[in-house]
Amino acid sequence: MQEEEQEQKKNPKTEAKEARSYKPSVFRESGRILYSHVRRNPFYLLAVGFVIAYLVYSALAALFPQITGFDPNALNLNVALHPPSLAYPFGTDNLGRNLLNRVMAGAPIDAAIALIIVSFSFLFGALTGSIAGYYGGLVDEIIMRITDIFLAFPGIILALAIAAALGPGLLNAVLALSVVWWPIYTRLARGETLSVNSNQFILAARASGLPRSKIVTRHIIPNVIAPMIAYATTDVGNVIILFSVLGYLGLGAQPPLVDVGRLVYDGQNFIQSAPWYPIIPGIVIFVIVISFALVGDLIRDMLDPHWRI
């Protein structure tokens, strides 16, 4: 009796375990793709680690400003333009401020800006693009013609003009970047919608009498979002580049906040005597952007069914 009971107890568990291990899991597949990329190019692993560390640090620095425990604006003229050393890993600027501290204080702003801009553009683009693609006709024409007009602008120039019109400052930079950033997402979402729309399950939903608005929100948008995520991840880097250009030209974060792009501008006058001053903040931006691009690459391959075979 006892043995039988034990067997009965055991069986469902082991079965479930076996079933789980045979079921093709998204995570396992993703892990396999990650492994195959990393084996060919170890930079992918570094990029994943760096992006996670950067985002966690930025979130912590934003939520608990006191944990950073340093003043990025602290002056010490005795060590002005000190080259990188153990005490000052990134060197110091012309006023003896620790550049590591300044970069660490400025970098979370870039993360916040990039996430805000990309999420806004993503949501706005997914909504307008899927509506345009699904309804077609006049709605499509109106939305896409407006999008075309925004796309006709060289993005940086329009953003610079808007930021200049509104005046220098972080909030205005966010507004300026949001205005120029969404059109690509609208176009992307419209294209994806058109391809999702031709699927059988949309026809089935329509045949079963689901209202159009529900088809868009329940069926179209969830299927459109997946391919957009990979693009959005890479795009975080693009926003950071553009924001750093705004900052470089004085339209980003204003003192006492630190803008990493502005550090490069301030440092370039010292490029001959203290090359680390402009170059290191630039390299930090470069590393952040590349990491997001590599992670975006990975996510794209994970979401792309061709890689799963």
């Binding site: 602008f153 060289p154 019109a165």
Partner: protein, 338 residues
């Protein structure tokens, strides 16, 4: 449909785009600005006379639709405002700065095509193999570098450490510029046979043009790569291979020639990237073109100049897209039917 009808239809499509674009620049420069008079006059504390003059010059007291009408008329008649910093008409300043930017952008476009297409071909031929990864990394570095980093590193390495190329300007200060024909120093010195100036202006051009090209070649590499990969799977390529043609001849004669037609379509996008890149690149290399003018205007918050450059760059992008559309219509007749 004939080619003429295709061109006419595209020109008609241009009208709503141009109206929309000008409406947007109007909204930026007249509607969202908190205090238009202060922005246009260029000083924080203008005198009442200045305020009155600026209000009259830009019709700031009229209702918005009248202002827009005036704005359009001013744009067409060439009244693009006056720079409060230099007290010069914006359009005149643009005219002085334009040739330098044109020269730089064309040089950068040539370099980025020269890097972009071979890399795209190699990356497609080596698709998925080990050697594809370094190309992908190089291409990511082009995409990932903020424009000022590349420019500063170039300056540091080639001008300050190796001392082989000049760090700024278009011509050594000891030389006189060549006779003004096109305004592009390299072309002018070539036309007038001024070899000293030619060598010197080319030496000045190399660093900014290469930095600009490295920011842009990635678009060309990407489209060449993907259209090569697509063409490789086509029937005529299989036929060519099964005829026993050598692999190299199939790749270059059949695949590349057909794939290049879609590379033409991204030239417009590349020009857009190049123009926006000039703002930072020209500032760092002190290249006296539109980009430097734009950067200096932004740093000084010279608003009429900023808007002038915005309109100019947008017009260039719209027109380049039109020309690439035409070019594509010539290369690929099926486009005309869409």
């Amino acid at each position: 449909m004939g080619f003429l009808a295709f061109i006419i239809r595209r020109l008609f499509l241009l009208v709503p785009i141009l109206l929309g674009v000008t409406l947007l620049t109007f909204v930026v420069s007249h509607v969202i600005v908190p205090n238009p008079v202060l922005v246009w006059v260029g000083t924080r504390h203008p005198s009442p006379q200045q305020v009155a003059a600026i209000t009259a010059q830009y019709h700031l007291d009229d209702p918005l639709y009248t202002q827009y009408a005036y704005y359009l008329v001013d744009l067409v008649t060439g009244n693009w405002g006056t720079s409060p910093v230099t007290n010069q008409p914006v359009l005149k300043l643009i005219g002085t700065y334009f040739p330098a930017t044109f020269e730089l952008t064309i040089a950068a476009l040539l370099i980025s095509v020269a890097i972009g297409i071979p890399l795209g071909v190699l990356s497609a031929v080596w698709n998925g193999k080990k050697l594809d990864y370094p190309i992908r990394l190089l291409y990511l570095s082009g995409v990932g570098s903020p424009p000022f980093l590349l420019a500063l590193v170039f300056q540091l390495v080639f001008s300050y450490y190796l001392r082989i190329l000049p760090s700024s300007g278009r011509l050594s200060p000891t030389l006189l510029p060549p006779t003004h024909i096109t305004g592009m120093y390299t072309v002018d010195s070539l036309l007038t046979g001024n070899w000293v100036d030619l060598v010197d202006s080319v030496r000045h051009l190399i660093l900014p043009a290469t930095a600009l090209a490295l920011l842009t070649f990635a678009i060309i590499t990407r489209i060449t790569r993907s259209s090569m990969l697509e063409t490789m799977n086509k029937d005529f390529v299989r036929t060519a291979r099964s005829k026993g043609l050598p692999k190299r001849s199939v790749t270059f004669r059949h695949v590349l020639r057909n794939a290049l037609s879609s590379t033409v379509t991204v030239i417009g996008l590349a020009v857009q990237f190049l123009l926006t890149g000039t703002v930072v690149i020209e500032y760092i290399f002190f290249w006296p073109g539109i980009g430097l003018y734009a950067a200096q205007s932004i740093l000084a918050l010279d608003f009429p100049s900023i808007m002038g450059v915005t309109v100019l760059f947008t017009l260039i992008v719209v027109l380049t897209n039109l020309v690439t559309d035409f070019a594509y219509g010539v290369i690929d007749p099926t486009v005309r039917l869409q």
